[in-house]
Symmetry: C2
Subunit: 526 residues, 2 copies
C-alpha cells in the first residue's frame, strides 16, 4: 500500500514529467529552428529568404508562447514547492523542492531563469528589437561599405536605447550592461569578467610590446602560396579525422562566416577556404571542431532539457579555443599533422614542424581586424569593444564619440590607429544584431581554455606526447567527463571549480602566453 | 461615415485576417517540417535520427493542435456565415459567406476540409497509426530481404484494419477506399479514378501485346556504358538549365529515392546516379524538375495559405510526367539535348537523336518492377496495386491471398509471373507507410499530363519546334498561367476544365500512347 509520502512523491513525479514534456517541446521547436538557420547559411538558395524569415518567425513565436504560457509558470511554482530545506537550495539561490533529484532541480533552475527573463520583457519591445535589428543589418553593411560611421550612428543609438530598456525590464536596479552580459553568460558575474579582461589588458600590452621590440625572426612565410579549395577541403577532413570528429553525428560544409551548430546527435561544422590562406582554414576548422565536439559530448539522455545543452558561451568558447590554440597551435600538433599537409600540398615539402609552429603563432601588432588577429592581440580587440560597449550601455559614452574613443584605444593598447571606420568600430557585425555583452565571452573562453588544459595536464600527464602521436582520446575523455556530460547541470563557476579544483582564473592563460611567446620571441624578461 | 454594411464588411475582414494569420502559422510549421525532412533525406548524418524524429513529432503535434483548436472552428463558422446565397456556394458544396472574395472562399473551403478530417479522427488512432507505420518499415524491409510475405502479413493486416477504422471515423457511410483516396486526391471522385484506370488497362494491355509481337528492333543499347557520377551530375545541371530551372529558388542534390520538395520560394530537386544507367538519371531529373517547377510557379503572394499550395497529387504528377514524358522522352528533345550529353560523354559520339529517342522509349514487357517500368507498362503496375489495395480496404480480399492475386494479375495483364514476393507485392514501400489510395494518382497524373499537353499545343502551336530550339518559355508560361498560379483556388475538376476546355479524360493519353508507340514499333493496327 502506498504511504502518504509515496503519493506525494508520485504527485511530484507526475508534475515533473508534465514539466519535462513541456520543456522538451520548447527545445524541439528551438532545435528545428536551428536546422532552418543552418540550412539558410549553408544550403538555401537566395530566393528562399522571404519564406524562411516567416518560418523562423513562426517557430520563434511558438517557442515564446510555450515558454511564457501560464501553465509553465504554475508547473515551476509547484516544482519549486514551499517546503524547501536549506540544503536543497541550489547554487543560484533559487528555491527548489527537496523532493526533486539534483538533476531535476537544475532543469527547474534553468527554465525558471529563462521563464522570468521572457515574462519580464514586454512582447512589443521584443518585436521592436527584432524589427530594428532586421533593418540594422543592411544599414551596418552600407556604413561599412561607405566607410561612414554616421550612417550607422542613428541605428546604433536606437539599439542602445532599446537594449537599455530591455535590461531595465529585467532588473531596473542592476547595471544594464551586466543584465545584457547575462544573456550570453548567466553565471559569471560582470565584476569577475571585468577583472579578467583588465588583467589581460594589463599583462598582454607589455608582452606584445616586448614582442614588437624582439629581434627574433619567425618563419612567417611557411605557408605562403596558392592552395585550391578542393584540396583544402580534403585537408580539413583530414584534420577532423585526426582530432576524432564523430562523422556519424556531424558533417563539414562551407559558409562565409564559419560556425558550428546542432545537438548531441547531429553537430555540424562549417569552415571556409581562401586560396591564399591555408593556415586560416586549418585553424578555423579546428576551432569549429572544438565547438561541435562539445555539443556531441553532451549526454544523449539529456536531449530535450537543459541537462543536454551546452553551458553557455564562455564554456563553449573554452572548448573551441582549447582545441584551436592549445592543440592546433602547438608544436607537437605540427609534428603530427604536417606530413598530412605535405601529402595534400607537395609544394610545402621543405617546411619543418618548427616553421609551421612559428607561422601559426606569429604576432601581428599592427593588425586592426579582430578576426585576423593572432592569439595574443586578439584579446585587446575584445577588451576595446568590451570597454566601448559597456560605456555605451551604461550611458558613459555617447554614440557619436565611439569612433574617436575606439581609435584612441587602439593607439593606446596596440600602438596602431585605424585610418577608417570600416577598419575600426564598424568592422564587426555583432552590434547590428543588438548583441551587447557577447564580446567578452570570446576572451573569457580563451582564459578558461588555458585553465582547463592545465587541469587536464595535471590529471593526464604530458598531453604534448599524446598530441605528437595523434592520440586525443585521453584529452577528449577528460573534457567529456569534466565538462561535456554535465550539460547545464552546474552553474559555470561550479563547473569550473569541479573540473579544475580552483576558482575561475586568468593565471593559467597568462602563464601559457608568457611561456609560449617568451620562447618563440626569445624574450629575456618572460 | 461608415455605413452599417461597411462595418459588417470590416468585421468580416478582421475575422478573415485573424483566420489567415492562423492558417499561415500552420503552414509555416508544416514548411519548417518539410525542410527538416529534406535535410534528413539529403544532409543529415545518420546519428541524427533520434533527435530528428522528436523534432518532427513536436512540429506535427503543434500543427495538429493549431488546426484543431476551438478557435479555428469558430473562425471557420463565422466566415462561412449564415446568410449564404445560392451563387456563393462553392463547388464542393460548402457554404461560404457571400462577403468573402472568391479567393478567400477557396481558402475557407480548403481549411474547412482539413479541419473536419482532423477533428473526426481521434488522436489516439492517429498516434496508433503513426506508431504502427514506424514499426512497419523495418518489418517490410526484412520481409523483402527475406523474400517472405508472411513476415509482413500481420503488419499489413493491422494497417488495413487501422486505416479502415480511420476511414470510418471520417465518413462511416462512404466506401472506405474512396475516403483514403481522398487524402491524396480530394476532388476527383473514386468512380472517375476507377473508370480511368479501367480504361488504361483495357486499352494498354492489347497495345503492349502488339508491341511484344512487333518485329521492330529499337536501338536499345544507345546509352550502354559506364558513366561516372560527377559528370552525370554536371549533365543533370545541364538538363535543368535547358528546361529553365530557377536556380535562385532551387538546388540539386542526390538522394537514394529522388524527390522534390519545398515552397514557391525554394523548391529543391534531388536525383540519383547509377554508373550503368545514364538515361535513368536524366529522366528522373526531368521528372523532379516538373514537380519543382510547379512548386516554384505557385504564386508568391499566396504563400502561407492554400492559394500558394499545389493542387494535390494528380496535378503535381501531371507536371512531372508532362516534362518527363512529353518533353524528355520526345525525339525533338533528344535533337536538342544529345549534343550536351555527347560533350560530357564523348564515348557516345555515334549515337543519333533517333537512337536516343528509341532507347528512351523501349517497352519492357517482361519487367516486374514498377520503378524500372517504361511509360506504358508502368500503368499496369499501378492498376494492379490499385485493384489489390482497393479490394483489401473494401474487405473483398484477405491479406493472406495478396501474393497469389498479385501474381495472377501480373500474368493476366503483363504476361509475366513474379517468382518471388520481393519482386512481387513486396516491391514498393508505400503500404508500410499506411499509404492506401496513393498509387492511382501516379497514373491519373500521367493521363492529365497528356490532356494538358494537348491543350497547350492547341493554344501554342507546334511545341516540338520549340523543344528542338530549347525554347520552353511558352510551354512553361502556359502551365504557369493555366495551372501553377491558381494554387488550390479551384477544385481539381474545375482547374482541369478551365485549362483544357473539357472534362478530365484519358482520351489524350491513349491517343498519344497509340500514336507514339504505333510509330516506334511499326504497329499496323495503331
Amino acid at each position: 500500500m502506498a504511504t502518504e509520502q509515496d503519493s506525494a512523491a508520485e504527485g511530484d513525479a507526475d508534475t515533473y514529467d508534465e514539466f519535462e514534456q513541456r520543456v522538451e517541446r520548447i527545445t524541439n521547436v528551438g532545435n528545428a529552428a536551428g536546422i532552418l538557420q543552418w540550412d539558410q547559411e549553408v544550403m538555401m538558395p537566395e530566393g528562399g529568404t522571404p519564406a524562411r524569415a516567416k518560418q523562423l518567425s513562426t517557430l520563434s513565436s511558438i517557442s515564446h508562447e510555450l515558454l511564457t504560457d501560464e501553465e509553465t509558470g504554475e508547473l515551476l511554482e509547484e516544482l519549486e514547492g514551499s517546503e524547501t530545506t536549506e540544503s536543497s537550495r541550489n547554487t543560484s539561490g533559487e528555491a527548489a523542492s527537496s523532493d526533486l533529484a539534483e538533476d531535476q532541480q537544475a532543469v527547474v533552475r534553468e527554465v525558471r531563469r529563462r521563464y522570468d527573463r521572457s515574462m519580464k520583457v514586454p512582447e512589443e519591445l521584443v518585436a521592436e528589437i527584432s524589427e530594428t535589428t532586421s533593418n540594422a543589418h543592411p544599414t551596418w553593411v552600407e556604413a561599412k561599405e561607405e566607410d561612414d560611421f554616421s550612417i550607422f550612428a542613428p541605428t546604433l543609438e536606437k539599439l542602445v536605447e532599446l537594449k537599455r530598456e530591455y535590461a531595465d525590464h529585467i532588473d531596473p536596479d542592476a547595471d544594464p550592461y551586466a543584465v545584457l552580459f547575462a544573456d550570453y553568460e548567466p553565471y559569471i558575474d560582470i565584476e569577475t569578467a571585468e577583472r579578467i579582461l583588465e588583467r589581460l589588458r594589463e599583462e598582454l600590452v607589455p608582452l606584445i610590446e616586448a614582442i614588437d621590440e624582439s629581434d627574433a625572426e619567425l618563419e612567417t612565410d611557411a605557408f605562403s602560396g596558392e592552395f585550391d579549395d578542393e584540396t583544402q577541403e580534403e585537408l580539413a577532413r583530414d584534420v577532423l579525422d585526426t582530432l576524432g570528429y564523430d562523422w556519424n553525428r556531424g558533417r563539414l560544409d562551407t559558409a562565409p562566416h564559419p560556425f558550428s551548430s546542432g545537438t548531441q546527435f547531429d553537430a555540424r561544422v562549417t569552415t571556409r577556404f581562401d586560396e591564399s590562406d591555408l593556415l586560416g582554414s586549418i585553424t578555423s576548422t579546428i576551432h569549429e571542431f572544438g565547438h561541435a565536439n562539445y555539443t556531441i559530448g553532451l549526454p544523449d539522455e539529456g536531449y530535450g532539457t537543459p541537462l543536454g545543452e551546452a553551458r553557455d558561451l564562455t564554456v563553449h568558447e573554452s572548448q573551441s579555443r582549447l582545441w584551436e590554440n592549445h592543440i592546433g597551435r602547438s608544436q607537437p600538433f605540427w609534428e603530427r599533422f604536417l606530413p598530412a599537409v605535405q601529402e595534400r600540398f607537395p609544394a610545402l615539402e621543405d617546411v619543418t614542424p618548427r616553421d609551421a609552429y612559428e607561422a601559426a603563432n606569429q604576432v601581428y601588432d599592427d593588425n586592426l581586424i579582430r578576426v585576423e588577429a593572432d592569439e595574443l592581440t586578439y584579446h585587446l580587440h575584445i577588451v576595446i569593444r568590451f570597454e566601448v560597449e559597456r560605456d555605451l550601455i551604461r550611458g558613459d559614452l555617447a554614440v557619436e564619440d565611439v569612433p574617436e574613443v575606439w581609435n584612441d584605444k587602439y593607439e593606446e593598447y596596440l600602438g596602431v590607429r585605424p585610418d577608417t571606420d570600416a577598419e575600426g568600430c564598424l568592422q564587426d557585425i555583432h552590434w547590428s544584431h543588438g548583441s551587447f555583452g557577447y564580446f567578452p565571452t570570446y576572451s573569457l573562453g580563451s582564459v578558461l581554455a588555458a585553465q582547463l588544459y592545465a587541469a587536464a595536464e595535471a590529471d593526464l600527464g604530458d598531453i604534448d606526447e599524446h598530441t605528437r602521436e595523434g592520440e586525443f582520446d585521453d584529452l577528449n575523455g577528460w573534457l567529456r567527463e569534466q565538462i561535456h556530460v554535465h550539460g547545464k547541470r552546474y552553474t559555470t563557476p561550479d563547473l569550473i571549480e569541479r573540473a579544475t579544483g580552483e576558482e575561475y582564473t586568468a593565471d593559467h592563460f597568462l602563464e601559457y602566453a608568457k611561456n609560449k611567446y617568451g620562447e618563440l620571441y626569445d624574450l629575456e624578461e618572460y
